[in-house]
Symmetry: C2
Subunit: 253 residues, 2 copies
């Protein structure tokens, strides 16, 4: 009997893949994932049976991985952290319903929110909220309720899936809600394709983004600042976004 490894491949390329995840891939008999994430694994795929699965076919992919894991070690690859908008939950649901007793291991990875944050300086720093604007699996009314509460918390909010195919206005609708609770001067950081060749980093404000969000796409992560978040500039040079941890309340420096 095999084991199903649900492996987080992290953002971007294999430079963000943990050694434990790399070893699990190397030890697997079969590797399965969507082509976009498998492409970055390069040499790791040599000599392996590789199953390229289509985007949007998560249930079929999870079921096939479980079926194969009955007698082989299978590595299911999931971008970012598999436990955050990744494959972990649907694989476990399929095991629960259809493959009782199947052994699984989840290996964590660098999640997209902290990868984006690292490119922006320190916009999260401590407490924060992670929300997706995709209403494919979550009703839009639920997303609205969560956004309203999140923006009242005063902490940074990381937005995944700001636009989906066929849902180009979800981000704009979210920004309308944000502006009910936050000043237009609130810093916003946007990272497209973090740790990939075509990475793009933008530091802007809520008011500016509200007027034009055309450069945001489905591969972007947004971080909307909390009540203490500021844009750090040296003269006209933007050096990053800082959300202070609170040391200024305890110590003078």
């Amino acid at each position: 009997m095999g084991t199903l490894y649900i492996i987080s491949s992290g953002p971007g390329d294999v430079n963000q893949l943990t050694p434990e995840a790399a070893r699990a891939i190397a030890a697997a008999d079969i590797i399965i994932g969507n082509a976009f994430y498998l492409a970055i694994l390069g040499g790791f795929l040599q000599g392996k049976e590789v199953i390229y699965s289509a985007m949007g076919k998560e249930i079929d992919r999870a079921r096939e991985a479980c079926r194969l894991a009955a007698d082989k070690n299978v590595a299911m690859i999931s971008g970012g952290d598999a436990g955050v908008y990744g494959m972990a939950s649907i694989v476990l649901e399929i095991i629960e319903h259809e493959f009782p007793g199947l052994e699984y291991v989840v290996l964590p990875g660098v999640t997209a929110a902290t990868a984006a944050a690292s490119k922006l300086g320190s916009p999260l720093s401590g407490d924060y909220v992670t929300l997706s604007l995709s209403d494919l699996l979550t009703p839009w009314e639920v997303i609205v309720k969560r956004l309203e509460l999140a923006f009242q918390m005063g902490v940074p909010v990381a937005l995944y899936n700001p636009k989906s195919r066929g849902r180009p206005v979800n981000l704009h609708r979210a920004l309308v809600i944000a502006r009910q609770y936050k000043d237009d001067s609130t810093p916003v950081g946007i990272v497209r394709n973090a740790y990939r060749n075509d990475e793009k980093i933008i530091v802007t404000t809520l008011g500016e983004l509200y007027n034009d969000d055309s450069f945001v796409d489905m591969h972007s992560i947004l971080i909307i600042g909390g009540e203490e978040t500021r844009i750090w500039k040296e003269e006209e040079n933007v050096r990053g976004i800082i959300t202070p941890r609170g040391y200024h309340r305890k110590y003078v420096y």
Copy 2:
């Protein structure tokens, strides 16, 4: 002129350290961090100038790292992800105020919440809130307000620093708030020392934890389930915690 690398060492040992972080450590002239996190780096420290800094001396450590980076490459080590309750924000604040022009790079890592989640199955899965119960740098009233809003969101809540030295009751106070919004049957996962030798994983419920939280310490991460989170059992065997993504609303399986 040197560069200051703010490096996320991830949870546990070097098996969770990204290749990019490992290379930055290997290339650094000086490595600085608190002894607890430096201890896990082992062979990475050979032949390096290493500065062991005391816990609680974050501002001094940040300032010393900046001073040294004036003419050497310095690697500041921060456990988990440096941008989440780590050293990134205070280092950037010190650069902003005292070392203008100093070059910095933040390298992301596996953050404690997703590391803990991976040990519990898939308790986060999507939208979630990250909060710390330490009132060392954040006033307790602010923490209470954030907890109240977070629990109303219906999403999983990851709690860092559930107990601090001298603040053993913060967790109990947070659980009192949780019980105003959530059933006692709400699943709670607790992971102590994730990816370390003395790792401990506990699956319980809000009601049970409210009655006895004595096994939770400052090195524990708690994940309090959202409104759809469930404990997955096979007969009496707990196999994990699942927060479904929502596929069951779209597809039959």
